[in-house]
Symmetry: C2
Subunit: 509 residues, 2 copies
């Protein structure tokens, strides 16, 4: 497969005429070939029209058909693994080892959704026989879930395989029977095109309507807002910045026909060190935390950037250990020059805040866009007084907050916005305190961990990757794991329907 700088609109490959964009190798700053042709209103219109035309047939397709489609995409990801990895590495600066892991994750989640599609869209069909003798007579009622319709997917910059063109949102939407129109992330258009071609080919091989998948390319917000505004689009799935997610949410509410927006927008993922765990394991926790902050240049939405503990000797030991560990952490290349520059601006802002001190830095940058690990420390009163300290900084940056007492710790937790995760480091003697903190964490986070770090997001039915705003625009769902399908399904009830018209899952056993 060749990268030609083209969009994929149904079965067609289209070189866009609305300007060009090029990927940049963040390790060198070099612009990569080829130039991609950007799409405009006419390509949005064509992709969405095809998606609408495909929607009815795809909704009616069997779970088996959708499972085969997802498996064909997974197989394609593995067959084209070398080319995907090579291009992804150049476009994102992520390491080959990380990208091999991520490709496995992407293929694995497609296979999980295939299994779910095969099992059917409902945990159990709801069949309620009528009671003609009741007053008023109770009708025969049967309900199932069906696809909501075409979904617009905006992939993440930081997972070019597992949360991008063939990532979790696309897999969930296809499993549910929804056509997908992806807007490629402009930082990795090459790997987007390669992945898109794998999906395009799988759609054709499975004999599905071409509109089941399209891939649009464009720079800036315009094409994305046009896509989200198109009347054929019934839902939006997005992973990225808060500004981007909010812009889509508000645009969707202003449509003549509003639609749901599932935007996962990041988090600071607080870690609470309870006193006994801190006293017993300060050094171990420090090491685990520094690893979790630094991993892949800190470019995880689940990076645990905020560490909360009581001030004192144990916390001092932890800080010393963390500083020591940090000092040997190599700088890693960030995904884009823009992110690198944003990261440096954020560090400058943090350094200028009164009451915030730099605790440690990692090794200095070896390349133009490598980010140096930077750890800060402050006290609880400063944290409470400076709301910007509770905002996400994308990159390898961590903040330790030394709380005066438990009351201040509780006050800080209660002040936090919605989070993807919250973590407790606790020993058995900390259980009573943990029990008091838990309700505050439940109200604020989608996932609560004990004695681990949250970066790894297991793809499984019990996973919740989401949480109250601003972690996500819809706390009632997850973007990881087969639970994500429910975002793209709606219930339909059949009343007194003759058996020959009922879908197979709703027939009498």
């Amino acid at each position: 497969m060749e990268i030609r700088g083209e969009m994929l609109i149904g079965r067609a490959s289209v070189y866009g005429q609305s300007g060009t964009l090029r990927a940049i190798d963040p390790a060198s700053g070099e612009k990569l070939e080829p130039a991609f042709g950007c799409g405009g209103a006419s390509e949005v219109e064509r992709a969405c029209r095809l998606a609408r035309e495909a929607a009815t047939a795809f909704r009616a397709s069997s779970g088996e058909t959708r499972a085969r489609l997802l498996e064909a995409i997974a197989a394609g990801l593995q067959a084209q693994g070398g080319a995907l990895q090579e291009r992804a590495a150049r476009e994102t600066g992520l390491s080959p080892a990380r990208l091999i892991m991520e490709r496995g994750r992407a293929a694995g989640q497609l296979r999980q959704f295939a299994l779910a599609a095969r099992q059917g869209l409902d945990a159990g069909p709801r069949l309620e026989p009528g009671q003609p003798g009741r007053l008023p007579p109770k009708p025969d009622l049967r309900a199932r879930h069906i696809a909501i319709g075409p979904v617009a997917v905006f992939g993440a910059s930081n997972f070019p395989l597992a949360f991008s063109v063939a990532g979790g949102d696309t897999a969930a939407a296809l499993a549910a029977g929804c056509p997908v129109v992806v807007k490629a992330h402009p930082a990795h258009p090459g790997v987007s095109e390669l992945t898109g071609r794998i999906i395009q080919q799988a759609v054709a091989e499975c004999g599905l309507p071409e509109g089941v998948f399209s891939l649009l390319i464009g720079d800036g917000n315009d094409i994305g807002l046009k896509l989200a505004a198109h009347p054929a689009i019934e839902a939006v799935a997005f992973t990225g910045s808060r500004a981007g997610g909010l812009a889509l949410l508000r645009a969707a509410a202003q449509r003549p026909k509003p639609i749901p927006v599932f935007a996962e927008m990041g988090s600071i993922n607080p870690v609470l060190l309870l006193p006994h765990a801190l006293a017993d394991r300060a050094e171990d926790i420090a090491a685990g935390w520094v690893d979790a902050v630094a991993l892949n240049a800190g470019q995880f939405c689940t990076r645990p950037s905020l560490l909360l503990a009581l001030k004192g000797e144990s916390l001092t030991r932890l800080q010393r250990s963390a500083a020591l560990k940090a000092a040997s952490k190599p700088a890693e290349t960030m995904l884009t020059p823009g992110m690198h520059s944003n990261y440096h601006q954020a560090l400058q802002r943090l350094r200028s805040l009164p009451g915030v001190a730099e605790l440690a830095t990692g090794l200095p940058s070896p390349g133009p866009h490598a980010a140096q690990l930077t750890l800060f420390e402050t006290d609880g009163a400063t944290f409470l007084a400076a709301p910007e300290l509770a905002e996400e900084v994308f990159g390898p940056c961590g903040l330790i907050v030394a709380c005066r007492d438990l009351a201040e710790l509780f006050e800080i937790v209660a002040s936090l916005d919605g989070q993807l995760t919250a973590t407790l480091q606790l020993d058995e003697a900390d259980l009573p305190l943990a029990r008091e903190l838990l309700p505050l964490l439940e109200a604020r986070a989608g996932r609560i961990l004990a004695n681990s770090f949250p970066n790894w997001v297991e793809v499984s039915p019990a996973m919740v990757h989401g949480g109250p705003f601003p972690a996500c625009t819809d706390s009632r769902s997850t973007s990881v794991g087969i639970g994500a399908m429910t975002r793209f399904l709606r219930p339909v009830c059949y009343q007194n329907m003759p058996a020959p018209l009922l879908p197979p899952a709703l027939q009498d056993a």
Copy 2:
């Protein structure tokens, strides 16, 4: 219990200082005593602050506690039945028989939600044991659902008991563990206050925090928008007009922290008469349809106001029967003078449309706000050219569209917006045609009926009362039946959590 014109804010009764409003008896036009004191910003603030303070404890309450609360409310509705009915009848013009039925429905649905709360918020807990030996190790993951937080409820005008202060939305939110702040419908403040006192008393009897329930009173949109904008409110449930629902949806998206809005906004509920059924049963269908259009002055969101059929001799017979049946239908008092006036304006607009003819009217009005049943007829081309014919007219009004051929029937169905319901009248020989129409209906309606009429909405787990916009702002849920609880629940995942910290439902068996 006495009606004092007061709001209920937690355990307090408060006479508002921001103007007054009075209910009007629509049968006579007479203003009813007492004058209600309207609330403003300070009452919104107090109710919402109390709700926020109650949220954590109520979220953590046992299903048994919430079940008892719901049952106490149901018992209160029955104990105070006489007073409720009497006041409701005066404020709404609805008949005693209808209100007795509705009170039973309200109590019954509270008891269904009580049962659901007792059974727990999850169909089955999700427990995934860890696999420490896997690479990377699989963590222990357990997920459950918890309450989203305080919910603002805006009740419907047309169901003063079953979809108002103690209606489906309130029952669903309380069952889920969410405090509720109700904005009383200004057309029935008296029955709202009486019902609110029943809930207030039940909250106290169950030893729950007072903020679990408050009732605000106000005229106009201001107090409602203030309520929906309050930072403590985590979701909005609304039943009413499209303009009202859209205003709330858009206000919610503009909040610093956007929240979901579940607005059920009505529908024209198309009925499709397939040719064999029409030929065989024209007279029966006509009778059933006229009854369904006229019931309770047509004031059902599920009133089947649009009838689609092929033109021809059978349809002529149906029209003749419908006209005959309509002629003897008495006029019934509408809920408010404003609705009555809107209904008459809508009839004037319909009468002035070229190509639309008046087929029949019922008996003329006996009172100042009684609405005369009015049936119109038109052809498919006129319907397709005049989008206002596809808009809901609230009142006893129906439209028969004679389609030229099947192609035009399909075109009309495809042109329809989202609907709460769609109905097929069919005989066995119509099955092939029904099979072709079904996918179009599934894409457009929350509930699809065969050989019945949709007014009655059974309260049951398989019911779907919702549908694509504008029937509802969120097609992925229902506002009737215990499925409505899922609107107010969000998932939380516990990772590697020590057993003593896990909620009981997530403990090892």
